[in-house]
Amino acid sequence: MKKLLRYGNGDEYIMGDIASIEPNGIAPVEEYDLDGLTREEFRKFKENRKDKKLRAKMKRING
């Protein structure tokens, strides 16, 4: 599952892509499911994480 992790200071990390990075030992305050995005939408989201249309498609799964 591809996820967007949002941390307390506003930092966001994408998990589940072939390459991913996240803080160790710190829990995210919000998590979103990115599997609902198509491959093309996911690529666009990585380029512009502020895209409101794509953000609206993301399902919040935690936090």
Binding site: Y7, N9, I14, D17, I18, S20, I21, P23, G25
Partner: protein, 158 residues
């Protein structure tokens, strides 16, 4: 051709198929197979992280088949690099080999292939942790990962 239980007499030494001909079979027995493009490279892209929140960052990369082949086990070798700052300049390389602009001892990288506690049975993986020995900081690091993998299904890889 002959039955595999037949005596080895009068064997047809070679049969050429039309190049666009696809063969599908439940099982093929062969003493020698030449697979020209079995090993492929998948581009994973790069990601950035900082030590703002934590002195350590988890670096993870995995490769698996996409739907409908998600239950197929993948096998590959990770092609990874970690760099100080944004980008992949050789002098800024932290891992696997330190570049000239990186202070010796600044970072610790621990980990490697296949995490016993995390492996899901299908996706091949590389998991490591980088520690900034200076503590939490605004330092940016770049993690880049591709995969050389055995492509025995030819469907999409992610």
């Amino acid at each position: 051709m002959r039955r595999d239980t037949a005596l080895k007499t009068d064997i047809v030494t070679s049969v050429d198929f039309e190049t666009k001909y696809e063969v599908s079979s439940d099982r093929i027995n062969a003493s020698k197979v030449n697979l020209g493009s079995l090993v492929k490279r998948a581009v994973g892209g790069s990601v950035l992280g900082t030590f703002n929140l934590s002195q350590a960052l988890n670096l993870t990369s995995s490769i698996g088949y996409q739907t409908p082949q998600t239950n197929v086990r993948t096998f590959g070798k990770p092609i990874v690099g970690i760099y100080q700052g944004a980008g992949t300049l050789g002098s800024n390389q932290i891992y696997p080999i330190r570049g000239g602009s990186v202070t010796l001892g600044r970072y610790d990288v621990v980990g490697g292939e296949m995490d016993y506690g995390n492996y899901n049975g299908t996706a091949d993986q590389w998991r490591a942790m980088i520690i900034d020995t200076n503590g939490t900081s605004a330092q940016v690091v770049t993690f880049i990962a591709d995969w050389a993998f055995l492509d025995y299904r030819t469907n999409d890889i992610a």
